[in-house]
Symmetry: C2
Subunit: 230 residues, 2 copies
Amino acid sequence: MSQAIKQPRIVKIRENVLKKNDMLARELRKRFQENGVYVVNLVSSPGSGKTTLLTEVLTRLSNKYKTAALVGDLATENDAERLEKSGALVHQITTGTVCHLEAQMIEASLKQWNLAEIDFLFIENVGNLVCPSSYDLGENIRAVLFSTTEGEDKPEKYPTIVNSADVAIITKIDLADAVEFDKERFYESIYKSRPEMKIFEVSAKKDEGIDEWIDFLIKEKNLLGGQSIN
Amino acid sequence: MSQAIKQPRIVKIRENVLKKNDMLARELRKRFQENGVYVVNLVSSPGSGKTTLLTEVLTRLSNKYKTAALVGDLATENDAERLEKSGALVHQITTGTVCHLEAQMIEASLKQWNLAEIDFLFIENVGNLVCPSSYDLGENIRAVLFSTTEGEDKPEKYPTIVNSADVAIITKIDLADAVEFDKERFYESIYKSRPEMKIFEVSAKKDEGIDEWIDFLIKEKNLLGGQSIN
């Protein structure tokens, strides 16, 4: 196949793009740290409940902290509209046909805000368990969400996203019994590649585990320090 | 941003790769037709129930037809193992970090089989609602699956996959009430871009709608004809 001849060249250019992304992500990370912004990158497949969980988290955090959210989708502004009800600053990034967010999209979106006035920035990535794993967005922490309805084998089947994440969150834990979710097998599936990974179990609908997740983020932010003016 | 300078070049090379894919897909389509093989490409997000539905479909079809399945995943052979119980010929394609199947992967996998002895070939794509939309695999029909647990807004949020598909299937319809799935809104979400799209509603667990889906495929295959020796 002649396609094989082209492939090294594509790979080379992709590497350049990724490298540029990494350099820009590094700059962003520095800016976030200088301004005391703690940044969370949420990745998952479509429909795992990122927006529902995030709405709840933003609403609770907004009592004490200044929060913001950037939301990635191929199309529609639905998620931004849902998130705005929380009182957070919200901006939707529509990516067209691009299956992930990139550092330059984050940088461009930040221009509208004064970073020094933000404590927590949540980035809701495009619903995809493959592409977002390769793009550093300058975040402090990357959380991969898996819903009980997706089945317990997903961490094994999408190892790149698990390997690039810092913590895992099981969503829709209230549906575990209804969909016969095998929790033990799920933990095994994560631990196979990440034996020490911290795993949260949440249900936004039944208010389970959300405070633990928020407390963890606040603790992580405090450990990190930074020059927040709030 | 200097990244912008590089972009046209990447796009150009991607176009070449896609074009090569399309040419190979056209050859595959011709081979399938000559051998009387009806080919279904299943696309969806991770955990929508592709494998569960396919196992059921293969089991029922295998009574009267010779069936085969190619299954794409980044890693693991779990799906192939599950599908093999149906009595179909099964081959797993592990893509590493590639977020979709390509025509050349299909061509390479077919070498082990005699196409003239196959009536139905199902291709289970990598779980992803973005990337697979761009890659023709020579299939007769592309079905996009959405599970009730993913929520009713997904067709709007992933328009490229809806636009590239021929039919849509709502899976896990038995969970619709438990997850408060708004079916009317889902249909609207599809019809917004595809007003005439055929939509199936199935539950592999409760045996709902599967025979309708199979009958449709058999009818489509018969309409198409081909020189099956079976």
